[in-house]
């Protein structure tokens, strides 16, 4: 089966509507960032303390808010329902402050408020939904021996690890009845009974807690941006070496264009920028660059064969020749990313959103941003030379291209 055989669309002739669309998208995105007073940064970049808590049932937001405001926590506490395709009954509790020590105190205070509000701190029992292997082992050692289920230390360690792993894998770390653990390997009714006596089940489970000092956050942000800029400069240098400098510039501008539009979309859709989103942006830069180079490579090859043809025709031909592979590759990558976006869970949500946007924008930017930049420059350079020596001007261009190695044709 072949879908695009010998097509001959005039892509570059239709560049204006696309360039216009790109401009509109970029301006809308940048405008949204400016209006909202900057991007919405996640805790990674702005600093703060954040807890993700899963509740057994619909989280009582008001109760949480009230409890949090009655405590020694300084600054505003935000309590948000954190729902997604797979995240159910999850809540994010966070504070933002500019000082690390107080942030750390806040983090600790948030945990103890939860215990006091929803747990049974007075019961003397251990909360099975928020404990560690070691604490559980310490707790069960003697009672198990008394209950007539004595075990070697190693067995005990394995048992507690298995119990918690089981709860984590099957019930996302939150069980509502000890009976749910009965199919854990190595568990018998005696153990379940001991668990019932020694532990209780709080109606929540702390999934993660994070505290990032503002200093670290700012540092991470600067370093990520700098590393990306250096990487772009490195790519520009390599492409300039393999092709011509204007090709490098075109490719890098196209990547910039993709990144700006994607970041703009993040702002428009009010999504948070986090470290994983940065990884996604790096991925889309790599992807878009790959796409651009494939087309540039074909342009270079075609130029070698048809030196007399106008550049625009040569470019159009190259885009048409690579159209089938562009559709295939983009389509396939898009499939993977869509799967990630739909089923990938809340952790990957920002990441896959960036890639979904990035692949669409990255594919068309190779054709409608990178290529036109090269075309504009050459037309401009030709026009400057043409009045006096028109013939040499064309020659000069092909001369330039010939500078690049002829290895592509064997």
């Amino acid at each position: 089966m072949e879908l695009f055989k010998n097509t001959d669309y005039d892509f570059l002739g239709k560049k204006w509507p696309f360039i216009f669309a790109s401009l509109v998208l970029s301006v809308a995105g940048l405008g949204s960032i400016a209006l909202k007073g900057g991007l919405k940064y996640g805790i990674d970049f702005k600093g703060g303390a954040l807890m993700t808590v899963k509740f057994a049932s619909e989280p009582p937001l008001d109760k949480i808010r009230a409890a949090m405001s009655h405590s020694e926590i300084k600054g505003d506490v935000s309590v948000q329902n954190f729902t997604g395709a797979t995240a159910q009954n999850e809540v994010e509790i966070g504070t933002e402050l500019q000082e690390e020590r107080q942030l750390n105190i806040n983090r600790q205070a948030m945990e103890s408020v939860l215990v006091n509000t929803f747990g049974q701190p007075g019961s003397g029992k251990l909360d099975f939904n928020n404990t560690s292997k070691e604490a559980l082992a310490d707790r069960l050692r003697e009672p198990l021996a008394r209950a007539g289920v004595p075990m070697a230390e190693q067995q005990l360690q394995k048992l507690t690890a298995d119990l918690l792993d089981f709860a984590n894998d099957r019930y996302s770390g939150l069980i509502t009845d000890f009976g749910q653990l009965s199919s854990t390997p190595g568990v018998n009714p005696g153990i379940i009974n001991t668990l019932r006596q020694e532990c209780y089940l709080a109606p929540y489970h702390v999934i993660q807690t994070q505290m990032v000092g503002p200093k670290v956050g700012a540092e991470l942000r600067t370093k990520a941006v700098l590393a990306t800029l250096y990487a772009l400069a490195g790519m520009l240098a390599y492409i300039a070496f393999r092709f011509e400098w204007i090709y490098g510039l075109g490719a890098v501008i196209a990547c910039f264009h993709d990144t700006i539009i994607t970041i703009g979309l993040f702002s428009l859709f009010n999504k948070e920028m986090s470290m994983t989103v940065i990884a996604a942006l790096l991925t889309l830069v790599g992807y878009s660059m790959n796409d651009t180079i494939v087309i540039f490579d074909r342009i270079r090859e075609n130029l070698k064969m048809n030196r007399r043809e106008p550049l625009e025709r040569v470019m159009n031909k190259a885009v048409n020749q690579t159209l089938s592979r562009t559709i295939m590759t983009s389509g396939l990558t898009f499939l993977t990313v869509i799967a990630l976006f739909v089923w990938g869970g809340p952790v990957l949500h920002g990441f896959s959103f960036a890639l979904v946007c990035g692949i669409i924008v990255g594919t068309y930017s190779s054709v409608f941003v990178a290529s036109p930049i090269v075309l504009f420059w050459h037309n401009y350079a030709d026009q400057r030379k043409r009045p006096s020596r028109p013939v040499l001007a064309t020659a000069a261009r092909t001369e330039n291209v010939r500078k690049s190695p002829t290895r592509a044709v064997k």
Partner: protein, 539 residues
């Protein structure tokens, strides 16, 4: 041609074997396959849960402690040489940026003794720079080179101490290392896979923990006011009031009047642990550094019968009576319970942090989140990959099998490299894997489309395959090298996650050059080798 093909097949099979061995070793059962896989392919904290902390060592504490000890020694030396002085004090900067602003001020040295004072400082305290303020007053500051050395040493010792304490958790893997670029860096990164209770870790590391053992001048008193009243409203020179840390029983407040300059500081505490004496009563044994031991010996010898207080962060955790001369190891006896002994030993040990620490970043990812992310990410990944494979097989038919084989082999090589390099697979790393797979698919698509183009021009199958590969080769090189160049920059200048992304991507792209071009071409050649006159190719 034939031998060439055999050689290439041998290379490929050998690579596959080496890679598979790297991933699963030599398993003897199916359960072992899973187990070996999990131990060889290590997941990052974000995927398997664990704690991640960045702490800043408050090096100014160490500088202040050094100044305190210098002041003590100076006082003794000055007394020996009969040089009189008025007051001796130091500044107390709180911020880490002001570590170099710790300054000792010596006031009221009579002008006639000035030259012998200066000579003494120049002779015995060369690590400090002496500045004369006026005829009787002087300031002293630590030399920049000494300061640098002290900072480096402090951070190094903090890393050692924290590492030792974390060993108590008995973890298989842990990382305690200097964080950030080399040079003026006071940050330490602690990563503990599988420990999702940062409070436990923080308790273990000890928060600020400035430990001092000081002489008790008077006490206990029921309140601060009572203590001051006892001394006629003024505290004796060189002493301060410190509150006892309340213990379980409700005894009310206890205040002690203790010496301002400690006999021993946490810097000299080497180790401490709980134990039982011959009558099975709980005690805490401790060991001091050689230097500290000498000083402690001379002090305890002179002060038998007097009391000493263990002061942690300006709170007394224990008071004990000196019963005999103690050199570099001693014990604190008569403790009420095992808990008390264990706590005290922990306090003493935490005191051996050369400076306090401040938490810049604390993250704990519960294993349930890791389990959920893996499950969901894996489901999505498999769904995506399945879709890719189906479309490839449908669109390129028989040749699609090549692409799928190359894709699978690429993943195998990538995983093997992760295992052999002891790299850690994190979420951003998986982003790298996704881009790798995208580019691997692209390489195959590029080659196949090229072969189709050549076939359309009427070339024979074998020649079309050859030209297709050759023409696509340089495009593949260009795209891969560009990305590898960018990865080099990301690795050099990036931090943490960005680095993880770059590493997996480079490995994946290297693997792809091998699988998409070399392996795929070999499979084509193998299929075509028997049929010189092949008319059609399933592509």
């Amino acid at each position: 041609m034939k031998t060439n093909l055999t050689a290439r097949t041998v290379i490929i099979v050998a690579t596959i074997l080496v890679c598979v061995y790297g991933i699963i070793d030599f398993p003897t059962s199916l359960a072992q396959v899973k187990q070996n896989f999990q131990s060889n392919i290590r997941l990052g904290l974000d995927l398997r849960g664990g704690s991640h902390l960045i702490l800043e060592v408050q090096v100014q504490d160490a500088v202040k402690a050094d100044a305190d000890q210098t002041m003590e020694r100076m006082k003794e030396d000055l007394k020996k040489q009969n040089i009189n002085w008025g007051t001796m004090d130091r500044t107390d900067p709180q911020d880490i940026k002001d570590a170099d602003k710790v300054e000792i001020a010596v006031k009221g040295v009579t002008a006639s003794e000035g030259s012998s004072f200066r000579a003494l400082i120049a002779d015995r305290y060369s690590t400090y720079i002496l500045t004369q303020v006026n005829s009787t007053d002087y300031t002293m500051r630590i030399r920049p080179s000494e300061l640098e050395a002290l900072k480096v040493d402090t951070v190094k010792r903090a890393i050692d101490t924290i590492g030792n304490r974390i060993d108590q958790l008995g973890l298989a893997e842990k990382a305690v290392q200097q964080y950030g670029a080399a040079g003026a860096n006071n940050e330490i990164l602690v990563q503990l896979p599988g420990v999702d209770d940062p409070q436990r870790v923080q308790d273990l590391i000890g928060t600020a923990a400035v430990l001092e053992i000081t002489d008790v001048k008077d006490g206990p008193f029921a309140s601060r006011d009572a203590a001051i009243a006892q001394h006629g409203g003024v505290l004796p020179l060189g002493s301060k009031l410190v509150k006892m840390l309340p213990r379980g029983g409700a005894e009310g407040e206890q205040w002690y009047l203790v010496g301002k300059s400690p006999v021993i500081t946490g810097r000299e505490m080497r180790n401490a642990r709980a134990g039982q004496d011959e009558y099975r009563k709980w005690e805490t044994n401790f060991t001091l550094s050689q230097d500290g031991g000498k000083r402690f010996a001379s002090y305890t010898e002179r002060n038998i019968g007097n009391k000493l207080a263990v002061v942690l962060d300006d709170k007394i955790v224990s008071v004990a009576t000196i019963q005999s001369k103690i050199e570099d190891s001693g014990r604190i006896m008569g403790l009420g319970s095992e808990e008390e002994a264990v706590d005290l030993s922990r306090y003493l040990r935490s005191g051996s942090l050369p400076a306090g620490v401040k938490y810049l970043e604390v993250r704990s990812i519960g294993p349930s989140l890791g389990a959920d992310s893996i499950r969901e990410g894996l489901q999505a990944g498999i769904a995506g990959l399945a879709a890719v494979i189906i479309v490839m097989l449908f669109y390129y038919k028989r040749s699609g099998v090549n692409a799928v084989l190359a894709l699978i082999l690429n993943t195998v090589v990538l995983l093997a490299a992760v295992s052999y390099f002891h790299a850690v697979l994190t979420l951003p790393g998986i982003a790298g894997v996704i881009l790798t797979i995208g580019m691997a698919v692209d390489s195959n698509v590029l080659i196949f489309e090229r072969i189709r183009e050549e076939l359309r021009t009427g070339k024979g199958v074998i020649s079309a395959v050859d030209t297709g590969f050759n023409k696509a080769w340089w495009t593949i090189v260009d795209t891969h090298v560009t990305t590898i160049v960018s990865c080099a920059f990301l690795f050099l200048f990036g931090e943490g996650p960005v680095k993880g992304f770059a590493v997996t991507l480079v490995i994946g792209l290297g693997a792809n050059m091998f699988t998409a071009v070399f392996v795929s071409k070999t499979i084509f050649d193998y299929e075509l080798s028997g049929h010189r006159q092949l008319e059609t190719l399933s592509i």
